[in-house]
């Protein structure tokens, strides 16, 4: 336990040192000012009206989000987080792109000021990640306290995660224009819609029912067995044998049942997931959890805290890469108002879930995700949305 504590302290200290060096003061405000200075001034589309009141990030004439709208959208996001789960992060992105009008505003600078256009794209990505990154920090602390954070596995994921979360902002910040970003965001929304849809299909429901039946049957049998004799229980406890340790494969058996685990997978998985998350500006928790349980076949005990740590490490790397290496500015007031809404929404979730069956909630979000997905895909890759309101 002491060794584990020192390991954690060591990792945190290393992160702190990296953070301080990465946090070398930059010209965030200067970069925004430069982008504004390069933009033509005037009242026409794609120009900045210097006499207009400051809006998003203090840009004159930019959409100005009334604080209550930030809270209300946060309530919606928090409600989804607490009732359906991962789709909340997507909805936070939809707010920044569509509801607050940032995409349409940024799009007007595509020809007149590509720098400002791309800076707005990066800022939307960072705003999305802030919401998830701050929360991942709290989750990781909670899991560490609960003793559910498996450091070696988390570090394997983090090694890949840091690489992905560092490379993507460095390689893409300032290069991805808004329409491309919206198109790719639409693709991710479709992927989430497909997962949600599968869970509502008879096949998805049947697998859950079968799992419940298997668990129930085992629970009944197990209770009988353990009450019948502790000798047999003691016999089970002797059956674990680690047959192979290695960098490519770790195998353990238990009374004929063999389980294997390849340490390379968490590194590769961490890289791919962190890269997708950093590119789109989402947390990646919705990808880590199924990856660890389904692809790597690991138990929930390991998955729980480890995914939170992996999200945290890649979020820190990604946010700092965007903000301090590539000097992307963010609107803190917008993030603050959304956070207020998110915790109000998270309280409302359990209240409403008593009255609305989960499957109907999922169906509702499938429809919503397909709508948003089609809207963003067409807007991003065809130049205009085929659906209204996107």
């Amino acid at each position: 336990m002491k060794r584990k504590r020192w390991l954690i302290i060591g990792v945190m200290a290393a992160l702190a040192v990296i953070t301080i060096f990465v946090l070398s003061s930059s010209a965030i405000a200067g970069k925004l000012e430069d982008a504004i200075a390069q933009t033509p001034k005037g009242l026409e589309k794609g120009m900045i009206d210097q006499n207009a009141p400051p809006g998003f990030m203090g840009i004159p004439g930019a959409p100005r989000t009334f604080w209550l709208y930030g809270i209300l959208w946060g309530v919606w996001v928090g409600w989804i987080f607490s009732s359906v789960g991962a789709f909340g992060g997507i909805m936070a992105g939809v707010g920044h792109i569509t509801v607050f009008g940032l995409a349409d505003y940024g799009g007007t600078f595509k020809q007149t000021s590509p720098t400002l256009n791309k800076l707005l794209t990066d800022s939307i990505r960072v705003c999305n990640q802030y919401l998830v990154g701050l929360s991942a920090l709290i989750s990781s602390l909670t899991y560490y306290r609960m003793g559910r954070l498996v450091l070696p596995l988390g570090l394997c994921l983090a090694v890949g995660g840091i690489l992905g979360a560092y490379l993507i902002p460095v390689l893409t910040a300032g290069k991805i224009n808004l329409s491309m970003y919206i198109g790719y965001f639409g693709l991710v929304v479709f992927a989430v819609a497909a997962v949600l849809f599968y869970e509502t299909t008879p096949r998805g429901q049947a697998s859950k029912k079968a799992a419940k039946a298997a668990a129930k049957a085992f629970e009944d049998a197990h209770i009988r067995k353990t009450t019948a004799g502790s000798e047999q229980a003691a016999e089970w406890a002797r059956g674990v044998h680690v047959t192979q340790w290695g960098f490519t494969r770790t195998v353990f058996t238990f009374y004929g049942a063999e389980f294997s685990f390849n340490p390379v997978w968490p590194i590769v998985g961490g890289f791919v997931i962190a890269a997708i998350s950093a590119f789109i500006g989402v947390g990646g928790g919705f990808l880590y959890v199924p990856f660890l349980t389904s692809v790597a076949g690991l138990p929930m005990f390991i998955v729980a805290g480890t995914s939170a740590l992996a999200v945290l490490v890649s979020m820190i790397t990604s946010i700092f890469s965007y903000m301090f290496i590539k000097s992307v500015p963010v609107d803190f007031v917008l993030i603050g108002t959304e956070l207020i809404g998110i915790f109000i929404g998270s309280v409302l979730g359990p209240v409403t879930s008593k009255h609305i069956p989960e499957i109907w909630l999922k169906r509702l979000f499938v429809v919503l995700a397909v709508y948003v997905g089609i809207g963003y895909l067409t807007k991003g890759f065809l130049g205009h949305s085929v659906l209204p309101g996107m």
């Binding site: 789960g85 859950k208 298997a214 059956g239 928790g285 915790f343």
Partner: protein
């Protein structure tokens, strides 16, 4: 609203008359205030959904323990089934905790927004290096320090004392979960 508070908040940065001391002291008081406000809203939010979290946690612990028992019994298929159910239940508590953590952290962006308006040009050069850090780095470091101090004194404060007891009970419940280490013979356990 930030402009309204500005005239009050800036007074925290005029306590001693020494610019450097005032900057760190003012930022520390702001960080500490942000933690207290966040802790209060977080405890209110937790109280409101406590029952739901407990139910989800119980379900998660039950299936997780069953999955480990199934593993111990050599029933691979049952292990997979229970693991899937435990993961579903975990998803509920995980995202609930993620969204609840917003209740703790929401004051931070507002403080940073205010500091951005006041101290965006402030830079501290790191000794022996060519790097310098800005207001965000200073605030994050002071926030972490204030959090550690608050954690120490929390149980002595009237309102937070009760919250600490409630949270301890919840954590105890979560600890009842078995891990793969429970499968090891006693001598091999860490």
């Amino acid at each position: 609203m930030l402009l309204t508070l500005d005239s009050y908040v800036i007074r925290l940065y005029q306590l001693t008359g020494y610019a450097l001391v005032d900057f760190f002291l003012g930022s520390f008081i702001l960080a500490f205030t942000a933690i207290i406000i966040g802790e209060v809203t977080s405890s209110v939010a937790f109280g409101a959904v406590k029952k739901y979290i407990e139910t989800s946690t119980d379900e998660m612990v039950r299936f997780q323990n069953l999955s480990i028992d199934a593993l111990a019994a050599g029933e691979g298929a049952t292990y997979t089934a229970c693991n899937k159910l435990a993961n579903d239940a975990f998803g509920k508590t995980f995202f609930m905790q993620v969204s609840l953590s917003a209740a703790l952290l929401w004051p931070v962006p507002f403080v940073l927004a205010w500091m951005q308006s006041r101290f965006s040009d402030v830079e501290f050069r790191l000794i022996f290096t060519e790097y310098s850090v800005g207001y965000i780095c200073v605030f994050i470091a002071l926030y972490a320090a204030a959090y550690l101090i608050f954690k120490r004194i929390k149980r002595r404060l009237p309102y937070f004392r009760e919250m600490t007891v409630t949270m301890a009970e919840y954590r105890k419940r979560s600890r009842e979960m078995k891990s793969l280490a429970d499968l090891l013979p006693p001598r091999d356990k860490m």
